[in-house]
Amino acid sequence: MTNDEKIDPRLAALLDELKSASARDPQAATRARGRFLAQAVSASEERRHNWWMTIFQQKEKFAMNLIMSALVVLGLLFGGSATVSAAQDDLPTQSLYQIKLMSEDVRVWLASDPNMKIELLMDQVQTRTEEMAVLTLAGITPPAELSIRAQDRIQQALQLAATLDDVSMSAAIEQIRTQLQTQEQSMTQLQSGSCTECEPILQQIRDMLHTQLGQIESNLADPETSREQNQNQSQNQVRTTQTPLATDSLVTPQTSYTPALDGTGQQNGNINPLTGTPMPQDPGNNQNNNENSNSDGSVNGNGSASGAGGQGGKP
């Protein structure tokens, strides 16, 4: 110690007397040390415990997030697929029918192979035919949307076939023809059933199938010309229409039209669902007026085919 200031010796002596305080009791010192170390150990353990608790809570939070995420994913997977699965048997009059149509579109969209797409599209045509049959047997007039969608899918299948090489195209068109012939026969059988109210629409469907079969026959007779026609048709549609999910820009058939559908299968206005021709109110009038439809699917005449010109086939 260096005293910077002069201190009175008497004061220094008095302060020095404080230094001679009694020595510490060793036992008291040992006890005090023991108490402090006990406190220290306790504090150390408490911190370690808190550290583990923090880690555990974080892990628990992480685990909970993981579990919740897994549950959501499983819910979406199983719940979503269960809904879609349940919708597969629905008819147009039932609530999940739109989900069924959307799942069909998704399936076609996901298929990368053109042959697979054609097969799926024709499966859809068959499904529509079966739905018509079920409704007809139940005495319910099938909604026009069914035939519209069926026709659209046939056209898409034909356009896809036109993109294949000659051998594959012939095989694909042959397959389409066989399926359409089967469906035409089914329609003929249904037409002879007991649902008299259904007969006009069934006749229209049968006519549509007949027309499509005629086109297929001409395709098979002159593959090159039909290929060009189908490809031109596809290009026109790409330019003039929006692309629905299911079709990879092969959307609207040349002879189809797009009546405004509100998503419930109901047709807005009196339009022939097979040809796009305005129809009279009388359901008995089932004439086809294909000449009234132009190539981009819009409607000539008084019938107002609303919507984004040529989005037929989109549910």
């Binding site: 008095l14 302060l15 305080a21 510490r24 008291a28 040390r33 170390l37 504090a43 911190r47």
Partner: protein
């Protein structure tokens, strides 16, 4: 044995070995400091225990000294001592009559003089008392005291000057 510079770092992690070493290193000095200022062994033990207890609590809360552990411990001990006198009755010390040492044992006289010096120290401000105690009882340098009091060295010198003048007036002028 943990190197001295690492002691505080280890203590901040509540390492019991480091805490034990700190206790062994500083508790005798703290006791000595406390007993000199308090004059009572039992209260001095309380002071040491309370000082280390506050130190431990501060470490648990992530606070406590970042450096200058010794300064921190002595500051804490001094606060305890000041609080003890504030809440106790220091007047009893100050009011003691000057004993007639000629007829008493030497130890008794010493105790009484010590009482007087402590009472005089209590008349100083808190900082002045601590400067005098650390400087003249513990033998610290001004720089160490400055660290303990978180003040510049110049302020410590100034405190020391005023404290000595005041003590001289209390303890020596009465004798005249």
């Amino acid at each position: 044995m943990i190197p001295k510079p690492d002691l505080l770092a280890q203590a901040q992690k509540l390492d019991t070995r480091a805490l034990a070493e700190i206790y062994d290193l500083y508790s005798p000095r703290l006791y000595r400091y406390a007993v000199r200022l308090l004059g009572d062994a039992c209260t001095a033990e309380d002071c040491v225990a309370e000082t280390f207890s506050r130190f431990l609590q501060a470490l648990q809360k992530g606070r406590g000294p970042r450096d200058y552990l010794q300064a921190y411990l002595f500051r804490t001990a001094h606060n305890f001592i000041v609080d003890h006198y504030r809440h106790g009755s220091p007047e009893s010390i100050l009011d003691d009559d000057t004993p007639d040492c000629q007829n008493t044992e030497e130890n008794a006289c010493l105790n009484i003089r010590q009482h007087h010096v402590r009472a005089a120290l209590l008349e100083l401000t808190e900082d002045q008392g601590q400067v005098i105690a650390l400087k003249f009882l513990e033998g610290w340098e001004n720089e160490e005291i400055a660290r303990a009091l978180n003040k510049p060295v110049g302020a410590i010198k100034s405190l020391q000057h005023r404290a000595l003048a005041h003590l001289q007036k209390i303890l020596l002028d009465d004798e005249v």
